[in-house]
């Protein structure tokens, strides 16, 4: 590592940032591919089916036990799906608005990746903080970027120039804009409690005072932490429901709703353009799961075995373990997303709007006042 030390701090910073971007992006894309497989397997298990278990690779498949096990697990399906979506015909229907048609998949893909930039996915590894961009206004940045995500969907609906995608696009725009408000309001109590917009600081606060969703351990019992429990739970529930709506997951997949709109906003897309919508959707889910982990479930910390403090120099295994804890929490949320998909039927459109505007937004507002009141009364 002598050549690293010979670099200027600026060059080092650029080098490590690029390295982190490459690692995170590579890992995220792999996770997205396997999330699709997990989705298929989980849905199969919930519906008493077997799920994908066909793809067998020539050499690895002949390893006695492991090869067959991986095939049964459907381990190679993401690989084959990827190849398939690349070699399919990329058909552009004659009636589409060409420029927007080409632009929309990229616009829906990019915001999902940009959100990951501010998420602290681990404590430290060596001297490096495990976050790509340690922004002071991380959460504002996140909400700014997430709200861009709707443009991909709306643009796709508009560009396709036919009725089903158009309806999908309209639904998506109304839905995502309304739930964004509830989502934004639901995190304000968190910032009232923490007093900082930096996601790293939020995790530090949770390590000391208990997770925001249940602030009982860590700082020990006090009147304040007890009174803050309902605030945290309400916050989290609203955020979770809004995240489902924001990522177009069931029970809020109005924009796609296969039974009504063929497949909604991406009906006219094929090949890798469709694949990009797909990747964007799952990357959005990961972003949502990561946000929930960071804001409400203590990020990379666990409140026992001293896992809630950043490792000192030389404890690189602890740094890796922190990344593992973060991943575990995130994947648990992903599983919950998939689970809920087969648990609840799709909301009707007016019910969706009703839930968003008349239930969740007032509740979120009341929660802000409640949290502020609790903090004021307990003399923070």
């Amino acid at each position: 590592m002598a050549w690293l030390d010979s670099l200027t701090p600026q060059t080092q910073f650029v080098f490590f940032t690029l390295l982190k971007i490459a690692c995170v992006l590579g890992l995220l894309l792999t996770l997205v591919a396997y999330a699709v497989l997990a989705e298929r397997k989980v849905s199969a298990l919930i519906q008493d089916r077997v799920g994908p278990n066909r793809v067998n690779l020539p050499l690895i498949g002949s390893i006695p036990f492991l090869g067959q096990f991986l095939t049964k697990l459907g381990f190679w399906h993401p690989l084959v799906d990827g190849v398939k979506s690349f070699i399919k015909e990329d058909f552009t229907p004659g009636h589409v608005r060409k420029i927007y048609f080409w632009l929309a998949p990229a616009i829906s893909l990019v915001p999902a990746f940009l959100v990951i930039a501010v998420i602290p996915f681990g404590s430290t590894l060596g001297a490096q903080k495990m976050v790509i961009a340690d922004l002071n206004v991380g959460i504002l940045y996140t909400f700014g970027i997430v709200s861009l995500g709707v443009y991909g969907v709306v643009l796709a609906g508009y560009a396709a120039n036919s009725k089903f995608p158009f309806l999908g696009g309209i639904r998506a725009s109304a839905q995502m804009i309304s739930y964004e408000i509830a989502m934004g309001m639901s995190v304000i109590p968190v910032f009232l409690v923490v007093g900082d917009l930096n996601l790293g600081k939020i995790i530090e606060h949770q390590a000391q005072n208990g997770w925001n969703v249940l602030p009982l351990f860590g700082g020990g019992f006090s009147a304040q932490s007890l009174l803050l429990v309902p605030c945290g739970v309400i916050s989290f529930v609203i955020f979770f429901i809004s995240a489902l709506a924001e990522t177009n997951r069931l029970p809020f997949d109005m924009a796609e709703s296969e039974s009504e709109l063929v497949s909604g906003y991406h009906t006219e897309y094929s090949s890798m353009k469709f694949g990009m919508f797909f990747i964007g959707e799952y990357a959005n889910m990961f972003a949502g799961a990561a946000m929930m982990t960071t804001l409400f479930f203590g990020g990379w910390t666990l409140p026992f075995f001293g896992l809630d403090v950043a490792p000192v120099a030389g404890e690189w295994w602890k740094g890796l373990l922190h990344i593992g804890i973060f991943m575990g929490k995130m994947l648990a949320f992903m599983f919950t997303f998939m689970w809920i998909r087969w648990m609840l039927p799709r909301f009707r459109y007016d019910q969706l709007m009703d839930l968003g505007w008349r239930r969740m937004i007032p509740l979120a507002l009341a929660n802000i006042i409640l949290t502020a009141g609790v903090l004021a009364l307990t003399n923070r």
């Binding site: 989980v42 199969a44 298990l45 919930i46 519906q47 008493d48 089916r49 077997v50 278990n53 689970w339 087969w342 648990m343 609840l344």
Partner: protein, 185 residues
Amino acid sequence: MIVKRNELTWFERLYLPALIGGLKVTTRHFLNTLTTKTPVTQQYPEEPTRVLPGYRGAPYLVRDQDGATKCVSCQLCEFVCPPKAIRITPPGPTGKPADRTNAEKMPEEFEINMLRCIFCGLCQEVCPEEAIFLKSDFSLTGLARSEMIYDKDKLLALGGTHPGIQKWKHKLDEAKEQETFPVKV
């Protein structure tokens, strides 16, 4: 009849009972499938499928209990076939005679184009000799179109013998009864 719709209680309107109910059902199915390993999926090429009796699969020619060709080349099936999948070449005046008694002739050639066949079963219904049956085969494959035209030998081999229905044996019994007709005491 008027179905009485109960007003939802405030608790039910929180969506919570429905949520918990759904949670229970999905968890139960998830764990059951994961642990007992009895999914409903039938993994087709590995696990053979069960075809119920009366299934209309591919039409094949059958032999009688003595292994003789039942078909007498009457061409009724050829006429009735809606997609014109059957083509029969009759033996003509100089052709081979039938290989069984009670029949004047048998087809020189009998072809079914399985690509045209719609498995409607009209040939089976129309056949006066009970010589053609829709069997249980449903997955016919070939590497060329010519492979999918099944000729007489192939159809007879695939159809096998069909001793269950013995039309001419019954006719013979009836004829024998006729010989001693009034004697029945």
